[in-house]
Symmetry: C2
Subunit: 386 residues, 2 copies
């Protein structure tokens, strides 16, 4: 597999880095050489030995040995030229370009079909969360009814900050901007267009339709007030920017709207820059995919899986090694309850009904048990803080 | 694609039903005929026209036209004979048999490799939740560090019932048994062996190892008391049966243990018979898969996706239809706030700081806006109750 990467910014460089570091393992997994032949960008970020640096994407497209073109420059103009050019040359394409696919998906996929090549785009929705491929392949039995999700990490970060730090929208936005969490064109995040691009892509695949992106009704979070957050909370809700797409009687309903989500609901517990996608369908009912929606290696992980997917691997390898070294996981925090006070390292404790209850620090189970010898106690594991 | 289904119980019949109802759509999706030729079981559940009923699995194995054998009888004896026989005959295998793969995975996968066939088993873990395939393919870039999950719906249902209905273990178990939620061999669920089978399969793939299933340290939920649940809750935790596997310094740590999980954590909010799997790795950090872990069509959905996966499809189809009918989703519950009391249909309401706050019943946005004409208000969507 010969790869050309066009765009060596955050995600492009992350992709190159993973392909370099994991080369041997990936080759073993797919049973084929994995070679990055070109890195194409306006500036050379320092390429590994053997990777040809070029500023001209035609070098990549014109090289007949290149099997896959990875487009990671973004935007609607050059990116489209590169993708259409790669398809024209019979090369597979991997892209994270949600705006382009939301706007020009029909043209791109139609061209790809004519040329018999694949365009893969797992990284365009939900960063590294597997959702595009699982929705298209793992849920193939199902007629999808509805997709809902928190698809923009920046706005979810701002909404979380408003809640946890008791800030109004402008104060939280300023912090998010200081942290570099907001795109150069802030409107993409704040007015819901980024989320709209992503729900457009998910809706396209789920409902097997093409449509004009501009038909999606999009409302962002600028008008969400701290006051409404507080009022909603009293009723058991959090405000989240929800993108949804649903099969209606005479149309496909799609919109992006700030929405009250019950706190008892998994989606209501998605905080910070995390993303979530919930898919409701006839056979599998509702399944939900959750993870970080952005980040160099997070998104590059999805790009790399798409690159590997262009290699038409016939068989799953199970070339695993037998091992005897299977043990319980003995380092953990523990819940310990006893009818006597205990001399152990703990994070939290209280006593009630003549019982002493402890959440210990992270420690070794066997060492802890030694400290408890002679004592009657109940002990359970405590999951690591996330 | 010619399919033989062996085992026509809950999941087997569900699989046959989906393959029958969705035949045309699936054929379009993979570009090949999808034919169920045999249904093999001790009793005939009533097969669709054209499907040959047999009680003898040799009929399926000996028919050279059969490409895929779907093993859904469960257990360690006949199921293994059928799977090994199918592999020997050069047929792909799809199975939901977690116990068999946990015990004899090495033998089965080694035989499959020799014969150049695939054994797929998405349905063996987490029912219909896509997790086996995404972990193996979508996360291919990553070195997986840790897997944690709620992998047994029955015990999670019992633990949820203990909490919500203030019951002790035996009372909740009796209800779960009345509802048919507990396996004939209750120990599989209650003592954690079912969860152990599933974490064994996930660990095998994540860490590329084979090992003896009996080395997994497994503790069930029999000793979980209502009292400890209440004490844990005061500290912000719920008790869940957690299966985990982790790369340790000198071993692979695997165990199944009742564990306190923070209520602020997504995993701590997985209730009823839902399952969840969280995978932590180097590039994509943590991703989480959630859904129903059991049920006829839920599990059959995963079986069908595996069957389709045995067809080595080269290209993704995007044979989608252009549509103009894209609308906002206007039927919803709404949050409405106003400085005057409103005459609208609502589920909940309260007033505070001279503001009147309503969660409306599900209704049409435009109809609601008509009722609010002349009133100054703030309006947001409210997500459907799950």
């Amino acid at each position: 597999m010969i790869i050309g990467i066009v765009g060596l910014g955050t995600v492009g460089f992350g992709t190159l880095d993973i392909l370099t570091k994991e080369k041997e393992r990936l080759e073993k997994e797919i049973g084929e050489e994995v070679v990055v032949k070109y890195g194409c960008a306006l500036e050379n970020p320092g390429l590994p030995e053997g990777v040809i640096y070029t500023t001209d994407f035609h070098d990549v497209l014109d090289d007949e040995s290149v099997d896959v073109v990875v487009e990671l420059i973004g935007g609607l103009t050059f990116a489209k030229t590169i993708i259409m050019g790669a398809i024209e040359k019979g090369k597979h394409v991997v892209t994270a370009n949600k705006a382009l696919l939301a706007h020009d998906g029909q043209e791109i996929f139609t061209a790809a079909k004519e040329k018999g090549v694949n365009v893969f785009y797992e990284a365009s929705v939900g960063g590294g969360i597997p959702v595009v491929v699982p929705a298209k392949e793992s849920l193939i039995a199902n007629n999808i009814k509805k997709i809902e999700g928190i698809l923009n990490g920046t706005t979810n970060f701002i909404l979380t900050l408003m809640e946890t730090d008791n800030l109004d929208f402008k104060e939280a936005l300023a912090i998010a901007q200081d942290l570099g969490f907001v795109e150069a064109d802030a409107s993409l995040d704040l007015d819901g267009f980024d989320a709209a691009h992503k729900i457009a892509i998910l809706a396209m695949n789920a409902f097997h339709i093409f449509f004009d992106f501009d038909k999606i009704h999009t409302t962002g979070i600028r008008q969400v007030t701290k006051q409404d957050m507080d009022y909603a909370k009293k009723l058991g809700y959090r405000i989240k920017l929800i993108a949804q797409a649903e099969k209606l009687d005479n149309s496909i309903g799609i919109d992006v709207s700030p929405t009250l989500v019950p706190m008892s609901d998994i989606v209501g517990n998605v905080m910070q820059a995390y993303n979530v996608v919930e898919i409701t369908s006839d056979y599998v009912e509702n399944v939900l995919f959750y993870g970080k929606g952005a980040g160099r290696y997070v998104t590059a992980s999805a790009v790399v899986s798409d690159i590997m997917k262009t290699h038409n691997k016939e068989l799953w390898t199970h070339d695993y090694t037998y091992t005897d070294a299977i043990t319980p996981i003995e380092d953990s925090r523990f819940y310990v309850r006893s009818s006597q006070p205990l001399d152990i390292d703990y994070e939290e404790s209280y006593s009630m009904d003549d019982q002493y209850i402890y959440i210990t620090t992270k420690q070794n189970l066997n060492a802890l048990k030694l400290q408890l010898s002679g004592v009657k106690y109940t002990l359970l594991k405590v999951r690591d803080e996330k």
